[in-house]
């Protein structure tokens, strides 16, 4: 019951922000869509073909862009979010929840995820309408796959959020990592078997197989799905443990809440 109360408090706050700051919400959707258009038409111009010739690649861009949006939101909630809470002087209050800071943050990202699913879906529909490529939206297969895929990004977010607790000014590193996430998602999967050890990479490919290849979760190679579970658990686990470590360092040095 207490866990539910903490989760509901976070979720309600997200919906209040979404509604009250609707201009910000709309700007975010429009910005995401404009970035997508730039990438999309840029890619078409580079490939020099018509939409019919470059079809599969363009569908890949739609999928990749969707995963990137989820990943950035996941990553930003924890990393930039931690800096924001410290700046506005509420981080220490969050820390004082009897559930522990770890759970507070897990519920926080869950609340963000739920709220942002709506925004990403709006952008996804806009993208599909623009490209005319209506992808397979097998919700039952996609939800677990997206969750598993972005779990890696949450791991990175926890890691960077932990760094922010101790080192405070980590904005440059955060920005660089945002672009590294693009590489994880967009780098061609086939060029090295090493790629599937990276976060987000294998997940993006499997989501592509569902959305473009029209396969269900059960039709995907079980080995790949298991590998994705292991990969996400690894990155999430390492990120979370690092966060706990940095949190401990911050408490020891009396840095929690300082900015």
């Amino acid at each position: 019951m207490r866990y539910l109360a903490v989760f509901m408090a976070q979720l309600k706050m997200r919906f209040i922000y979404l509604r009250r700051y609707y201009f910000d919400t709309i700007s975010m959707i429009v910005t995401m869509f404009i970035i997508f258009l730039l990438i999309f038409y840029g890619a078409m111009a580079l490939m020099g073909g018509t939409m019919a010739e470059t079809g599969e690649t363009l569908e890949g861009i739609v999928v990749g862009f969707m995963v990137w949006s989820f990943a950035l939101i996941a990553y930003g909630t924890l990393s930039w979010g931690m800096i924001e809470e410290a700046q506005q002087g509420t981080l220490e209050q969050l820390y004082m929840s009897p559930l522990g800071f770890g759970w507070v943050n897990i519920f926080r990202v869950a609340a963000h995820f739920i709220v942002n699913v709506f925004m990403v879906l709006i952008v996804l529909f806009l993208m599909m309408a623009t490209t005319g490529k209506w992808l397979n939206l097998d919700v039952l297969s996609l939800i677990p796959l997206v969750l598993l895929t972005v779990a890696g990004a949450y791991g990175l977010g926890f890691f960077m959020g932990g760094l922010a607790l101790v080192f405070k000014r980590v904005q440059s590193a955060l920005q660089i990592l945002q672009f590294v996430i693009v590489i994880f998602i967009a780098a061609p999967f086939g060029w090295s078997s090493f790629m599937k050890f990276l976060p987000l990479s294998l997940g993006t490919r499997l989501i592509g197989q569902v959305m473009i290849g029209e396969q269900s979760l059960l039709q995907l190679p079980p080995g790949d799905v298991l590998f994705l579970i292991g990969n996400s658990a690894f990155y999430f686990g390492v990120g979370f443990l690092a966060f706990k470590f940095f949190e401990n360092v911050a408490r020891d040095r009396g840095l929690l809440g300082h900015y």
Binding site: M1, A9, K12, R20, E92, S97, G100
Partner: protein, 333 residues
């Protein structure tokens, strides 16, 4: 590692200790330098529903002590017991028992309204909103926030924001409440208003409060007992009334007509080396700490012998600020 909170007997009344700090030490390590000792073997207890002031000059270790109790700073050594739970061993259980209003922090979400903030912090503590709705209404009433209930916190005045932050600490419904400089940065009027709310809370006796403040009016108005920390150590732990009494009985001011002749001044200084003399154009003032009535008569005898006209004799009004300064400067033991 839970144990029942231990009891103390004071003036025949059984008192339950809900906050027990034992040998709390916090040392900050530094590269290529000696560690900084922020808090050095600090020990004190606070009983159920007691309001205790934590005083000390800047850098004395007040905030570090409060943050250690709130679990925000990891102590180097020592124990903190909150209503029978040791905070280091069971941090989550300890958090069920303590809430804090921290100095220099907003402590609230500026983009939420007062009611939304209260609901959020109740939820954060694990209280479902439907169970605390009545209490939220009560707090909004108590803190006079009804008219601003639907206004974003950032649009509120500084004083209202601080009252809301205090309400958000209260909505957590913990046994112990830590208030670090709750009136800092407030204008005189709002500080007075907040002080009244604190007084009401203290009078209702619903919470155990540890309050740190530079504002002696707040402490004098709301606290039954004060703990004074200096250089990371507890130098005084006594009831406010005892401290006031200590000062009241000893401080006298004599107002004399005209100026004091040199011979008389020498006589007085010989007998009472610590007395202070000051004068205006037509008046002389003698401030002296006298142990008893006999010493008072001695001063009068010396003045009478010199034919000095005494206009008035008064007890110097004791105030906590002077007592605090005297203690911190080591003048009062």
């Amino acid at each position: 590692m839970e144990h029942s909170a231990h009891m103390l007997w004071s003036n025949g009344i059984q008192m339950e200790t809900v906050l027990d700090v034992k040998d709390l030490t916090k040392r900050y390590r530094r590269r290529r330098a000696e560690p900084v000792v922020a808090v050095d073997r600090v020990s004190f207890s606070v009983h159920k529903n007691e309001v205790v002031g934590l005083l000390g000059p800047n850098g004395a270790g007040k905030t570090t002590t409060i943050k250690c109790i709130a679990g925000l700073i990891k102590p180097t050594s020592g124990e903190i017991w909150l209503d029978g739970v040791e905070a280091q061993r069971q941090p989550k259980k300890a958090m069920e028992r303590v809430a804090a209003l921290l100095e220099g922090n907003r402590n609230i979400y500026w983009r939420l309204t007062p009611r939304e903030n209260l609901e959020f912090f109740a939820g954060l503590q694990g209280h479902p909103v439907r169970k605390v709705r009545g209490y939220i209404d009560e707090l909004i009433e108590l803190f006079d926030l009804k008219d601003k209930e639907k206004t974003s916190a950032r649009m509120l005045s500084r004083g209202m924001q601080q009252k809301l932050a205090l309400a958000c600490a209260l909505i957590r419904q913990t046994e112990v409440l830590l208030l670090d400089e709750p009136t800092l940065g407030l204008d005189v009027e709002t500080s007075y208003e907040l002080r009244n709310v604190l007084k009401q809370m203290a009078a209702r006796g619903e919470r155990t409060i540890l309050l740190s403040s530079h504002d002696m009016h707040v402490v004098q108005d709301t606290c039954e007992r004060v703990i004074i920390i200096n250089n990371g150590r507890v130098v005084v732990d006594d009831r406010v009334t005892n401290l006031m009494k200590l000062f009241q009985v000893s401080a006298y001011r004599f107002e004399l007509e005209g100026h004091l002749v040199e011979e008389l001044e020498m006589k007085l200084r010989e007998r009472f080396p610590l007395l202070a003399l000051s004068s205006t154009d037509h008046r002389t003032y003698i401030d002296a700490d006298l142990v008893d009535g006999a010493e008072l008569y001695e001063v009068l005898d010396i003045l009478k012998a010199g034919n000095t006209q005494v206009k008035s004799i008064g007890h110097k009004e004791p105030n906590l600020e002077e007592i605090f300064l005297a203690i911190v400067k080591g003048q009062l033991k």
